[in-house]
C-alpha cells in the first residue's frame, strides 16, 4: 500500500513537473522568439521645382503601380453658404472630364486600361488615387493628372454629382449606425460647426460651376500637394514623369481661411432620434485632444484598455462577453487638427439601451476615478500596439502613403520611431493621469437612434 502511494506520489510529481511544459509555459517560450533583424526599406523623397513633394518606393513583385496624391483642402474651408462644395468638387474632378477629353472618353480610357481611379475630398484632405498595370503608366498618369489640374467640369456631370450627393444624404438615414455617428458629431461640435455640419439639398442645389472652379484653383496647386507611389517603376524615370505631368501647372501660395476654433467644454446632453428598430444605436463621448498633444500616447494606451482592443478591452469583456448585450462595442480616443472626438459606440437590443449607457458611464468613471489600471492591462495594451507596428511595413504602397500622411499632418519623416519610443515609455501613472485629465463621464454627449419608448 505504501509502495502504491509512493508510486502515486511520483506520478503526481511527474504530472506536476510536466507543468514546466504547461500551456502557459509553452506560450511563454514561443513569445520569447526574437525578431529577426529588419532593415526598413529606403523611401525616396524630394520636392520638385514646383513644390510638389513625393515619396516613392520601387516594388517589382507584380506589374502594378499605385499612386496616391493628397491635397490640403476640404469642407472645413467651405464658405458657410456653400456647404457641400468640397464633396461636389471631389465628384466633379473624378467624373467631369478634362480640358482635352470629354467625360465619356476619360471613363472609356480608364476602363480600357482597367485603371482603378478615385478622387474624394474630406474635411481637411483631398485624396486622389490610381492603381494601374505598369505598362500603362504614361497614358494613365497623363490622364490622371489632367483630372486634377485641368478639369472640364462638364455641366451634365456636375448635375449628376449633385443628384448623387442628395441621394447619398437621403440614404444615410437608412443606416442607423451612420445616423448615430452623424448626430453625435453634431451634438458635440454643434450643428453648424465646420467639423460637423452636413450639406442640405438646398445648399447642394445652389452650388455653381464657378464655385467649383474657384475652390479648385485655390487649392489644387503642386506646392499644396504630396504624391506617394509604389510599384513596378524606375524611380528616376518616375520622377521625370511627375515633372512632365505637373511641371507646367501654375503655382501660388495658398491662403487658408480661418476655421472657427472648437470651444472646449463638457456638458451632459442627449439627442434621441426615433426609429422603428429592434435595437438602439448609441454613441457616447465628448471632445478629445489636438493632434500634437504629447499625452496622445498615454491616451492611446488608456483607450486600448478601455475599449479599443479587440475583445480584450474592459467594455468588450463586460458588455459583450459577460453580458451578451452587444455584438460590438468599442471606444476611440481621437485627436484632430482641432479637438478630436472621444466616443464609445454600441448597438444593443432596444430594452437594454438604458442599462448599457449606465454601464458605459460606469466604466468611464472607474477609469477616471479609481485609477485601478493593472500592470497586466498596461503590459497587454503596450505589447499589442508595439508588436503590431511592423505591419506599417508589410506593403510598399502602405509605407509611402503613411509617409505622405505624416508629412501632411506635420510630423517628421521618422515619426514612426518617435511614436514607438513614446508608447514604450508610457507608465501606469501616465495612464491614470490622462484618464483623470481627459475623461469626462459627467460631461457626456449621448446620441441614440432607436425605438421611441
Amino acid at each position: 500500500m505504501t509502495k502504491r502511494l509512493i508510486t502515486l506520489a511520483i506520478a503526481l510529481l511527474l504530472t506536476c513537473c510536466q507543468s514546466d511544459r504547461s500551456p502557459k509555459a509553452e506560450i511563454e517560450r514561443m513569445e520569447k522568439v526574437p525578431m529577426p533583424k529588419f532593415t526598413e526599406p529606403t523611401v525616396d523623397t524630394g520636392v520638385l521645382e514646383n513644390g510638389l513633394r513625393y515619396y516613392l518606393l520601387e516594388d517589382h513583385q507584380l506589374p502594378v503601380i499605385q499612386l496616391n496624391i493628397i491635397t490640403k483642402t476640404g469642407s472645413i474651408y467651405e464658405p458657410a453658404d456653400k456647404v457641400g462644395l468640397a464633396w461636389l468638387l471631389g465628384t466633379a474632378l473624378r467624373t467631369g472630364g478634362t480640358k482635352n477629353l470629354a467625360p465619356e472618353d476619360v471613363d472609356r480610357a480608364f476602363d480600357n486600361m482597367a485603371a482603378a481611379v478615385g478622387v474624394g475630398i474630406g474635411q481637411e484632405m483631398g485624396d486622389g488615387s490610381i492603381k494601374i498595370l505598369s505598362k500603362d503608366k504614361e497614358k494613365a498618369f497623363s490622364l490622371f493628372f489632367d483630372l486634377l489640374f485641368a478639369p472640364r467640369f462638364e455641366p451634365k456631370r456636375v448635375d449628376l454629382g449633385k443628384i448623387k450627393i442628395i441621394e447619398a444624404l437621403k440614404r444615410e438615414n437608412d443606416y442607423p449606425e451612420q445616423v448615430v455617428v452623424r448626430e453625435f458629431r453634431k451634438l458635440v461640435y454643434g450643428d453648424a460647426s465646420p467639423w460637423a455640419r452636413r450639406p442640405s439639398n438646398e445648399s447642394v442645389k445652389a452650388l455653381k460651376i464657378d464655385d467649383l472652379k474657384k475652390f479648385h484653383e485655390k487649392y489644387f496647386v503642386p506646392s499644396n500637394m504630396i504624391v506617394a507611389a509604389a510599384g513596378d517603376f524606375d524611380k528616376a524615370a518616375f520622377i521625370e514623369l511627375l515633372k512632365k505631368f505637373t511641371g507646367n501647372v501654375a503655382n501660388h501660395d495658398v491662403q487658408f481661411p480661418e476655421v472657427a476654433p472648437v470651444d472646449l467644454n463638457f456638458v451632459n446632453q442627449e439627442r434621441k432620434i426615433a426609429r422603428p428598430l429592434t435595437q438602439s444605436y448609441i454613441e457616447a463621448g465628448h471632445l478629445g485632444i489636438k493632434r500634437h498633444n504629447p499625452d496622445k500616447y498615454a491616451l492611446e494606451i488608456m483607450d486600448t484598455i478601455l475599449g479599443a482592443a479587440d475583445f480584450k478591452s474592459r467594455l468588450m469583456s463586460d458588455i459583450r462577453s459577460d453580458r451578451g448585450l452587444a455584438y460590438t462595442i468599442s471606444s476611440d480616443f481621437g485627436w484632430g487638427t482641432d479637438y478630436g472626438l472621444f466616443d464609445v459606440y454600441v448597438a444593443t437590443k432596444a430594452k437594454s439601451g438604458a442599462e448599457v449607457i449606465n454601464l458605459i458611464r460606469g466604466h468611464l468613471e472607474r477609469m477616471k476615478e479609481k485609477g485601478d489600471v493593472t500592470a497586466s492591462e498596461l503590459d497587454f495594451a503596450k505589447r499589442s500596439v508595439l508588436n503590431r507596428l511592423i505591419f506599417e511595413f508589410d506593403n510598399s504602397f502602405k509605407i509611402v502613403t503613411q509617409r505622405a500622411r505624416y508629412r501632411f499632418f506635420g510630423y517628421p519623416d521618422d515619426y514612426w520611431h518617435i511614436y514607438r519610443d513614446a508608447i514604450e515609455k508610457v507608465t501606469i501613472d501616465d495612464v491614470k493621469r490622462v484618464a483623470r485629465e481627459y475623461l469626462h463621464p459627467d460631461g457626456l454627449s449621448i446620441a441614440i437612434v432607436g425605438p421611441a419608448s
Binding site: D107, M113, A114, N173, T278, L325, Y327, F380, S384, I390
Partner: protein, 497 residues
C-alpha cells in the same frame, strides 16, 4: 465575423472579382506556391514573400451555411464564434476543475433551450433553469480566462485576427510578426482542433444581436435575406449565413460539437501561409500542430436542388427604395461560369459598363448598380444578381425593366470587340490587384482550393475567360435569361412609396 447586408454583397462582389480573373500577366503564381498534404488529408499552400518580417495565414474549412439542415440554420457561424472561446489549454486556469461544470452547463442549457423552444414555454421552469444556468456560469468563470485567444494573439501583434463564415466555407485568419509563427500555429490549431464550448449561451445572445443589426435593422441585410427566400424553393441557399432567428435561439452545445466533429477534419481543410518564413520550418510546425486533426471523411452534402425562377417579392422598409433582379445559373465546373463572369463585368464594372453607363451616367436614373455572379455562394447552383438603387423620382421597378432591356440586347446583338477586350483586361487586372497584399493572396488561394479543389484555377482563369466568344455570350444569355425566369425583389418605403 461580420456578415450582413450591404457588406455581405460587397464581400461577395470582391470574391467574384477574384473568381473572374487570373494570370495572362507577367507574374507566375504557380512557381511561387509550395503545396503539400498532411497524412490526415489537410492541404497546405505556402508562398514566400520577404519584403517585411511578417506573414499572413488562413485556415479554411469547407463548411458553411451550405452544410446546414433546416431547423439548425446558423450553426456554421455559431461554431465559428465558439472557436474563439479557447480550448482545453487556452481560456482556462484549471480545465480539470472547469470541465465538470461545463458538462452541467451543457445539460441545463439543453433543457432550458428545449423549454423556450416550446410553443408555450413554462415561464416558471424557464426562470428556474435560467437562474441555475447563471449560477453554473458564475462557478465556471472562476476557472476561465476571458478572451484569452484574443489576448495572446493581440499582445503578440496579431493584425486582422478574425474569422468569417460564408455559405461555402468558414475561415480563421491572422497576420503576425514572423517570430510568432509557432504561436500562430499553436493558437489557430487549438481553435479548430480542440474547441471548448465556453459561454455558449451568452454568445448565442450576441449572435442574436448581430442578427438584429445585420438583418432586422439593415435594409440591405433584409433584402439579402428575402432574395434567398424568394429565389430558392429548397436547399441551404434559402437562408442567410447567420441563420433564422428562431433556429439560432434553439442551437445547443451538442449541435455545435456535432458540426465540428463532422466537418473540421483533415480532408475538409486547407491552410495557407504567405510571408517571410522558411519552408522547412513552416512544414515542421504544420505537422506538429495540425497533424492531430482527424482524417475522417466529411459527410457528402447534397448538391442538386430543384430551384427555378419566375418569382417576385415586394416589401416595405423604413428606407429608400432598391431592387434586385436575379437569374438562376450553374456554378463551376460548368464552363458557363466563365461566360457569366464576362457578362458580369460587361454589365457592371466601371462607368463604361452597360448598366452603369446607361442607368447611372446617361439616364441618371440610378445612384448605384452592382452585379454579383455567384450569389449567395459558389458550391451550389447560384444566382447572377443585379442590385439597383434608384434616384428619385425614378422607381425601383423602372430600373428592373431597363436592366431586362439590356439583357435582351445581349441576347440579340453581339458585344463589340472593344467591350470584349476591356472585359479581358479587367479580369486579368483585377486578379493581379488582389494578389498584392499577403492576406489577399492567402485568401484567394484558400478559397479556390477549398471551394473548387484547385488553387491553380486562379492562374488559369484569364485564359479561360479569354476563350469566351461573342456567340457564347448570346447563347448563355438566351438560355439563362428567359423573361419568365426572372427573380425580382423590390424594396419600397413602408408607406408604399
Amino acid at each position: 465575423m461580420k456578415i450582413s447586408g450591404k457588406r455581405l454583397l460587397h464581400y461577395i462582389v470582391i470574391i467574384l472579382i477574384l473568381v473572374s480573373a487570373g494570370a495572362a500577366y507577367a507574374y507566375d503564381l504557380e512557381k511561387d506556391v509550395t503545396e503539400f498534404k498532411l497524412p490526415n488529408g489537410m492541404r497546405w499552400l505556402l508562398v514566400l514573400r520577404h519584403q517585411a518580417p511578417v506573414f499572413s495565414g488562413v485556415v479554411m474549412i469547407r463548411a458553411g451555411g451550405a452544410d446546414e439542415k433546416p431547423g439548425k440554420t446558423g450553426l456554421a457561424h455559431m461554431f465559428e464564434h465558439m472557436a474563439f472561446k479557447g480550448s482545453s489549454k487556452l481560456g482556462t486556469t484549471d480545465f480539470a476543475k472547469e470541465k465538470p461544470i461545463l458538462d452541467e452547463i451543457e445539460r441545463v442549457g439543453e433543457e432550458l433551450t428545449a423549454e423556450t423552444q416550446k410553443e408555450k414555454p413554462d415561464e416558471k421552469k424557464v426562470a428556474e433553469l435560467a437562474a441555475h444556468l447563471k449560477s453554473l456560469q458564475d462557478d465556471a468563470s472562476k476557472y476561465q480566462i476571458k478572451n484569452e485567444v484574443w489576448e495572446v494573439m493581440g499582445r503578440n501583434g496579431a493584425a486582422d485576427l478574425n474569422a468569417y463564415t460564408s455559405k461555402d466555407v468558414t475561415a480563421y485568419h491572422a497576420s503576425m510578426p514572423i517570430n510568432r509563427l509557432e504561436l500562430w500555429m499553436d493558437v489557430i490549431s487549438q481553435m479548430v482542433a480542440d474547441p471548448v464550448y465556453r459561454e455558449f449561451y451568452t454568445e448565442r445572445s450576441v449572435i442574436l444581436e448581430e442578427r438584429r443589426s445585420g438583418i432586422d435593422n439593415d435594409p440591405d441585410g433584409k433584402m439579402a435575406e428575402l432574395i434567398g427566400e424568394t429565389a430558392f424553393q429548397e436547399g441551404p441557399y434559402r437562408w442567410p449565413v447567420i441563420g433564422q432567428g428562431k433556429d439560432v435561439a434553439g442551437l445547443t452545445i451538442a449541435d455545435a460539437r456535432a458540426f465540428h466533429n463532422e466537418f473540421y477534419v483533415g480532408p475538409n481543410m486547407v491552410g495557407v501561409l504567405v510571408g517571410d518564413f522558411k519552408i522547412d520550418e513552416a512544414k515542421r510546425l504544420i505537422e506538429k500542430y495540425f497533424g492531430k486533426l482527424p482524417s475522417t471523411k466529411p459527410p457528402v452534402a447534397k448538391e442538386e436542388f430543384a430551384n427555378k425562377g419566375g418569382a417576385e417579392k415586394r416589401f416595405g422598409f423604413d428606407a429608400e427604395p432598391a431592387s434586385v433582379l436575379a437569374y438562376h445559373k450553374p456554378t463551376l465546373p460548368d464552363p458557363a461560369e466563365f461566360v457569366f463572369d464576362v457578362i458580369e463585368v460587361l454589365l457592371c464594372s466601371g462607368p463604361t459598363s452597360r448598366l452603369e453607363k446607361r442607368l447611372v451616367y446617361d439616364e441618371k436614373a440610378a445612384r448605384d448598380v452592382s452585379c454579383a455572379d455567384d450569389y449567395p455562394g459558389s458550391r451550389l447552383s447560384n444566382l447572377l444578381l443585379v442590385w439597383m438603387e434608384p434616384n428619385r423620382p425614378h422607381s425601383p421597378d423602372e430600373l428592373v425593366s431597363k436592366v431586362q432591356e439590356e439583357l435582351e440586347r445581349i441576347k440579340r446583338e453581339p458585344v463589340t470587340d472593344e467591350e470584349l477586350l476591356r472585359v479581358r483586361t479587367k479580369v486579368m487586372a483585377s486578379i493581379l490587384y488582389s494578389l498584392e497584399k499577403n492576406m489577399g493572396l492567402a485568401m484567394s488561394l484558400a478559397e479556390f482550393e477549398a471551394i473548387f479543389n484547385d488553387w491553380r484555377l486562379i492562374a488559369k482563369y484569364p485564359k479561360l475567360v479569354d476563350e469566351v466568344t461573342k456567340e457564347d455570350i448570346m447563347r448563355i444569355a438566351k438560355e439563362y435569361f428567359p423573361k419568365d425566369a426572372a427573380v425580382k425583389v423590390v424594396r419600397t418605403r413602408s408607406n408604399g412609396k
